[in-house]
């Protein structure tokens, strides 16, 4: 991309993407990220992938306990 006045480079946009998805950036930074995304296809791809990665991490939550762990921890709680 070319440097235009007030535009942020890809490195800066990428650095902010996750916070942008979290809506944890200031209104000024949000505008800068969106301005960058409006013309940078690569960073749009980065944004979409950041969204996927975030969902991927969130989906790793708690499963059932393995039976031997469940037995030991429940016994521990019962003995408290």
């Amino acid at each position: 991309m070319t440097e235009n006045q007030g535009l942020i480079p890809c490195s800066e946009a990428v650095r902010q993407l996750w916070d942008y998805l979290d809506q944890a950036v200031s209104p000024e930074d949000q505008a800068k990220v969106e301005q960058h995304l409006s013309f940078c296809r690569t960073c749009c791809g980065e944004l979409e992938f950041a969204r996927q990665l975030r969902g991927f991490l969130a989906a790793q939550g708690a499963d059932e306990l393995p039976p031997h762990v469940k037995a030991r921890l429940e016994r521990f709680v019962a003995d408290l």
Binding site: S11, T42, G45, L53, R54, D63, L65, E74, V77, A78
Partner: protein
């Protein structure tokens, strides 16, 4: 039994109402969440971490105002125990040089290397190749410094301010470590798949 404040009638009544059985019921319900959080934070000793957290929680059960808030409360205690363990180990974990991790983009690497040439949804299918144990292995390749904020923020949903408080580091440090942790995680997702031949089993 929880420690009773001497002669404080109101507290005694409260403690009496909060019976041992109610703590056990509440703790039992949270065991899976606590165990899986602990497994992401430490390679070995997840059960010990949970047990230590339960002991500590039981001792301070009187400070929990609402049992409905038990899940986050127990997780916070577990993170405190984890932090204390790290301090006891007193290992000096080196911050990674910024330039070492910040340039890597898994998104771009996948585009360039195209490891699943017959996939129409390359990035999605790449991530799908990772089972939960694979993800854990990738996470465990990150130093705790980066792993803990990443796990707490994106897998357990803690706010960055709370992570700063729990880990006892400034908010700016948490934000920087989150960024580097994400980049390091991306890179390790790539390296792990290369090293283990993970994609060979994926129908292409």
């Amino acid at each position: 039994m929880p420690q009773l404040g001497s002669g404080i009638g109101g507290l005694m009544v409260e403690v009496q109402e909060r019976t041992r059985e109610s703590f056990q019921r509440l703790a039992s319900a949270e065991l899976p969440a606590l165990y899986w959080l602990a497994r992401r934070l430490v390679r070995d000793g997840a059960e010990d971490l949970v047990q230590e957290a339960l002991l500590r929680a039981y001792r301070s059960y009187g400070t929990l105002r609402e049992d409905t808030a038990a899940g986050p409360w127990l997780k916070r205690i577990l993170v405190n125990v984890f932090r204390d363990q790290l301090r006891r180990q007193a290992r000096s974990v080196q911050e990674l040089p910024v330039e070492e991790v910040e340039d890597f983009s898994l998104y771009q690497t996948l585009v360039e290397q195209d490891p699943l040439p017959y996939s129409d949804t390359l990035h999605h299918d790449y991530l799908r190749a990772f089972g939960k144990e694979d993800v854990r292995e990738v996470l465990l390749r990150l130093p705790e410094l980066y792993r803990a904020p990443l796990v707490l923020r994106y897998m357990d949903g803690f706010a960055t301010k709370e992570i700063a408080r729990l880990l006892d580091v400034p908010l700016g440090t948490v934000l920087a470590r989150l960024h580097r942790g994400r980049k390091r995680f991306e890179r390790e997702l790539w390296v792990y798949a290369q090293e283990t031949g993970l994609l060979k089993g994926v129908v292409q």
